[in-house]
Amino acid sequence: MSNSEHLATVMVNAFIDAVDRGVDLVPVVADSTSTAKISPFVKKYPERLVNVGIAEQVLVGTAAGLALGGKIAVTCNAAPFLISRANEQIKIDVCYNNTNVKLFGLNSGASYGPLASTHHSIDDISVLRGFGNIEIYAPSCPIECRQIIDYALEHVGPVYIRLDGKALPELHDENYQFTPGKIDVLRQGHDIALVAMGSTVHEIVTAATQLAESGIDATVINVPSIRPCDTNQLLEILKPHRAVVSVEEHNINGGIGSLVAEVLAEAGCAIPLRRLGIPDGGYAIAADRAATRAHHEIDAAGIVKQATALFQAQKK
């Protein structure tokens, strides 16, 4: 596909444009300048960046202090270290203190692949869903990513944005309008609903095309906005289907699959759900993206296999 772009590049361009228009934005990194691909920003605004060294606790604490001092503080480092090492700083300094900090979880999920589980963040959404008053977003493509970032920089309060680590092609055109909380239906079908967040939305798009070839008409649902989430809208979209499959490069506990399960169960809606992701109690394997997704059946082929089986079982 064409027009692929790395979401970190989208992020840095959004930062440059924000400062250009007068936003008092201060990026804070933990030796993560290359991870954040932030050199174009530093080149244009050499005095703005704060680099705290390899020290995630003070990364987040400093960002909270900068925000209390009137800055829009944006942290940019690898999601696994942000979420796990600075967990209490996110909980207290950012969420509980309601500081105007935007946390960017770079190379999230299993983006780091072969670097293994120290470098995977398959728990970030579940951890942050347990924290108070932080908005949580997982963009699926460059255009959506840019709109989410522009919104986050305008919004006053804590925001987490989960960024995939690979260049991603567009799923939307310039007419797309991201709205916090809103669900994005990329393909309307009738038989089965496929739900995903972030980069795995691309897998369900491909899976839907393949399912159509075997006569299964799938709805493709992108959930970029985990909190807030218009759960009524999600429920109405899911209701007409015979089965639902959720897909995420995240543990199946606490991520998009859990969100869908909660929505269905609380509505008393007995549609069978299959949650695909890193299984309960497990880790993502250490491998490149294709092998990782194939192993955990969160690639198009695995989704087709699981969706077909679930759909056939419902027809009986």
């Binding site: 020290a55 604490g61 207290i92």
Partner: protein, 276 residues
Amino acid sequence: MNPFSLSIEGLEKKARAIRRRIIVLNAESPAGGHTGADLSQVELLTALYFRILNCSVELKDSKERDIYIQSKGHAVGGYYCVLAEAGFIPVEWLSTYQHADSHLPGHPVRHKTPGVELNTGALGHGLPVAVGLALAAKRDNSKRRIFVVTGDGELTEGSNWEAALVAAHYQLDNLFIINDKNNLQLAGATKDIMNTDPLDEKWRAFGMEVTQCNGNDMADVVATLEALQPNGKPHVIIANTTKGAGVSFIQGRPEWHHRVPKGEEITLALEELKDE
């Protein structure tokens, strides 16, 4: 400019009034309190709020006002008594300390209590946030200064030392780190549990300017704080204090870390804290 700018004698009298309030506040608490920690920092907070800080209710929205951060959040009872005396909160609120959903919870909560700048309680959070505030002030060419009081037991939290590196690297001489060094923590003597001495050498090695004072001697506290000048280094003031200072049967006793006065103890303490 501090709106009170009290003399040493005035500050000492204010400190006694605050100590009396601490005794009553803890006695009326339905959920215990940290009486010893509240008392050890009285001279520090009294000097700050009634002489040193450019901070008042009226300056709430000023970007030039100094910021005080109570990193040892468990000593919030004493902090509330200071905020009440300084007019940030009504004195009547003090009798609601730790009552259900009151304005005065058992650790500082800024959306509950006017004057509180940061929610703390988990230790090792005040200093990193203070570093961010100091950086923001530097970038804005603001005269704002950031004062943070930490415990000494608290300094075993590694986040403090991450923050120390950043503070020195960015030459944050608008940052004043006051260690309330009372040598006692929850389970006993700090030197036995995890020794942080020699504390001055550690801070100096991290690039700070270090001074020491008797943290329960008002004249010494004020002279020490007022002598500090910006010189490219963050300031550390090791305030040697006595936990429970000011009340003979509380001071220096570890059991008062999380104990409140009861019955006759209240009368005895208030008698000791009378103005002469």
